[in-house]
Amino acid sequence: MKQLFFPVSRPIGWLMVFLISLLATLLPDVAFAHPMPNSVVLLNVHANRIEAEIQIPLVELQAAYGHAVNDSSAGLIERLGPQLRAYLIQHIRPQTPDGRPWNVSISELAVQETQNPINGVYRELTAQAQLVPPVGADVRQFIFYYDVVLHQVVTHKILVSVRQDWARGQIADDQPVQVGIISLDIVNNRILPLNVNLESGSTWTGFQSMLKLGMRHIAEGTDHLLFLLVLLLPAPLLVHGGTVRRFSWGSFGGVRYSLIHLLQIVTAFTVGHSITLLAGSLGWVRLPSQPVEILIAVSILVSAVHALRPLFPGREAWVAAGFGLVHGLAFASTLANLQLDAGPMALSILGFNLGIELMQLVVIGLTVPWLILLSRTSAYRYVRIAGAVLASIAAVAWVIERITGQSNILTKSVEQVAGYAPYVLVVLALLALFFTRRMKQANV
């Protein structure tokens, strides 16, 4: 939910969620003891390799490796990049259960500042490592010989967790699952490797989790939902006016007219966002998230104004398709962040999109019958205007939030109101039934 309200800082939001959950899940083992920061190894499990992010506190690395890496951390990668890579490869040695070594390479190195309540602010080295098993060996079972820092600093601890495991249905915005801690076996004064034995996953599990992710994305994506609903608001109505007069919304156009109209709009939106979801996930198109999120808010405003007074009568489907392209880009960023291989990515796009469609259908199925019922009554005018005005206010608030990067009182209220969506639906249904009944009585 939250990431949709702070879309500009979505990755940061995830990082926060992740860090907090990391504290919650990983620290209890060590929180009551260790005033020195630990290393963290986060595994991203792919079908045939593991991408690991390794975080090493520089204060501990300096004690093990020297070269004043903590005291002089500015320009560290420029100064010691090749040596650090060689050092890491020497001390990160996963192997198969029968003793064959995996191939390890280190791509990106960076120094960043981090903090936690126990250690305060400290600097750490982050390394992106690629761990590749020998041909034919299982990526999910290995003996993890890892003694970076620990080979020398025996009080150091390394927390190993799985951050993403697509085939097990675990994605990076879930809580990392701890695999184990590598530390000195004090009694026997030795460093044991960590036996990693991940439960086997399947393509089906991965697909299912992406389906759920897509559904969750719409269920929690107030902005996407609001756009669609507001666009559907005038769909059952005929348009008055034309060449001479300004257009205005007229009366109910009939069930058949409404349904065809609705179907056109929803299909167009789906086609639009499917195109950019595919293009964005595959990396063909990549736009910064801020303008995309601003455009999404603008799309709500435009369709809200349209619901007040027809801006583009008869061309709703084209507009829905156009804005669908924008919404799809936002969906794509979720998938692109997972950095999956081609196969799982293709299934993810399919699953995620199906999830989105399913959830859209559910929402439409729940609201449209009442809208059609209501649109036959004279009260619909007020429902439509009230809905459009409220949506415009929310849209403007979002535009401001997404430009400034700061949430405001309105967007916070929308966040709260969205939690009551089922009640709003009940009220809508009651209104529809009440006015329909009154209309029938009046007709009798």
Binding site: A33, E78, V154, I186
Partner: protein, 481 residues
């Protein structure tokens, strides 16, 4: 017009493409030649920065960052030590690295103890360039002193009030514990009086209580009457009348934590965040214990069958290591221990030091909180029984600074045991023998006694080491439970 733009564009593409190819050829050739020696076109000692300030007569360890320009991208290895001139006693050693192709920084590790106040100068020479690196050494700092007192430490450092418990031994401790309980409200009592269990007894830590929850009642919630009753109890179970040892060490520790509270540690720190719990019903016959625990101080007492069956695991530490003043008293609660270890280690011969030295590095204690019962199966280091009696006495001196924190009767019994086992006790260290540099570490490991001392990086006071220490007993931790 359009056509000419197109032509220009194509030409530019071609030009940049060929440049790119040339560049990649160039880098190919540099990759294949044997590494050239490092060279720079200029060294800027004037723009150098130091990671810490130097103080006369105080051990100094820092790094200097020296900018250069015109680097040739070559890799260079660590240099040999360059002694300081002017103010002597320091040396600068170049750390290995790879030059940028252009400007970057060299890193020199500087260590030693400056001989006086003034400027220490190092004649640097690197990659065909030389320059003079100047480090300012200021006058001897008097340590961190501050006037700082909280209601808790003021109440606790007041003279003892007369206590109605005239009995002796365990009976007196039971009486004083009950007297303390009698001052508590029913809610406070409920928090303080808990059942005895190993799980409860293990709820201690070396983190501030705000970051690792304790059980029991915190001193910050007690009124002066209640604090006086707490004081009466603690002076009966700790040694009284020795500066910075026993009860005085405990006060000094709380004073230091109050200081951390005021200089940026915030409300997680301070004397008010130290907790007392009573596990099991106090009695002269049954199993029960007193646990006093806070950030840098944990002291348990386990009683069973009318005697004290355990006084460990006891944690001691302090930040800042330097003196802190409160209510007209200056405390330096854990400096004597550090100096005793330094005396013990520097008293050894070079050969003995080599045997005692561990190859590993320790940035913290090995058997800190949560590491119960994990004593190494093999003892490391130097066996005390092989040392001359004066050196053995130095080991015993260090042990005494822990054992003699307790009331005289309890201390005498434990010290007799540790003394009888001294010959089979081992000492080991890592880092320097002076116990004055970050990550210096020392251990005393006997048939029963286990004492570790770690001089580790500062948490609230950055770049300044502070001590952590734990006293355990291989058989009587938690009273053997």
């Amino acid at each position: 017009m359009k056509r000419s733009i197109l032509v220009v564009g194509v030409l530019m593409c071609l030009a940049s493409g060929s440049l790119y190819t040339l560049e990649s050829c160039k880098s190919d050739t540099t990759d294949t030649v044997t590494p050239t020696s490092a060279s720079v076109s200029a060294l800027s000692c004037g723009s150098a920065t130091f990671s810490a300030a130097a103080v006369s007569g105080t051990a100094y360890a820092a790094t200097a960052t020296v900018p250069y320009t015109g680097g040739n991208g070559a890799t260079y290895s660590a240099g040999s030590a360059i002694a300081s001139t002017g103010i002597t006693g320091l040396s600068a050693t170049l750390q290995a690295g790879t030059l940028s192709s252009g400007s970057g920084n060299l890193t020199y590790a500087i260590s030693g103890t400056p001989s006086g106040t003034g400027t220490a100068t190092f004649a640097l020479s690197f990659g065909g360039q030389t320059c003079s690196l100047a480090l300012t050494v200021s006058s001897t700092g008097s340590g961190t002193t501050t006037t700082n007192s909280s209601t808790v430490t003021t109440a606790l450092s007041a003279t003892a009030t007369t206590s109605s418990c005239s009995s002796t031994g365990i009976a007196q401790i039971v009486c004083l514990t009950e007297a303390f309980k009698a001052t508590l409200s029913s809610m406070q009592l409920m928090a303080t009086q808990l059942t005895y269990s190993k799980t409860n007894a293990q709820k201690w830590s070396n983190l501030p209580a705000g970051l690792s929850a304790r059980i029991g009642i915190n001193l910050g919630s007690l009124n002066t009457t209640q604090l006086a009753a707490f004081r009466n109890l603690m002076v009966a179970v700790l040694a009284l009348g020795t500066t910075n040892e026993g009860y005085d060490e405990m006060i000094g520790n709380l004073v230091a934590d109050d200081y951390l509270n005021t200089i940026g540690g915030g409300s997680d720190y301070g004397a008010g965040n130290y907790y007392l719990s009573i596990l099991g019903t106090p009695s002269a016959t049954g199993l029960w214990s007193i646990l006093f625990t806070g950030h840098h101080y944990t002291q348990p007492y386990t009683f069973n069958g009318g005697s004290i069956t355990g006084v460990t695991p006891a944690f001691r530490g302090v930040e800042p290591q330097a003196a802190v003043t409160a209510a007209n008293r200056t405390y330096q609660s854990f400096e004597q221990e550090r100096l005793a270890f330094a005396a013990m280690l520097t008293g050894l011969s070079t050969t003995e030091q080599t045997t005692a030295k561990l190859s590993s590095t320790f940035t913290d204690l090995v058997l800190g909180p949560g590491q119960d019962g994990k004593f190494p199966s093999t003892r490391s280091g130097l066996q005390v029984g092989n040392l001359s009696s004066d050196k053995q006495a130095l080991v015993l001196n260090a042990i005494k600074l822990y054992v003699n924190d307790l009331d005289a009767t309890t201390a005498a019994t434990i010290l007799a045991k540790y003394t009888s086992e001294l010959a089979n006790t081992y000492i080991a260290y890592s880092g320097t023998t002076a116990m004055s540099t970050q990550n210096d570490y020392v251990r005393i490991d006997g048939p029963n006694v286990w004492i570790e001392f770690s001089y580790q990086g500062g948490v609230i006071i950055r770049n300044t080491p502070h001590s952590h220490s734990v006293w355990r007993d291989r058989t009587s931790d938690y009273g053997g439970n």
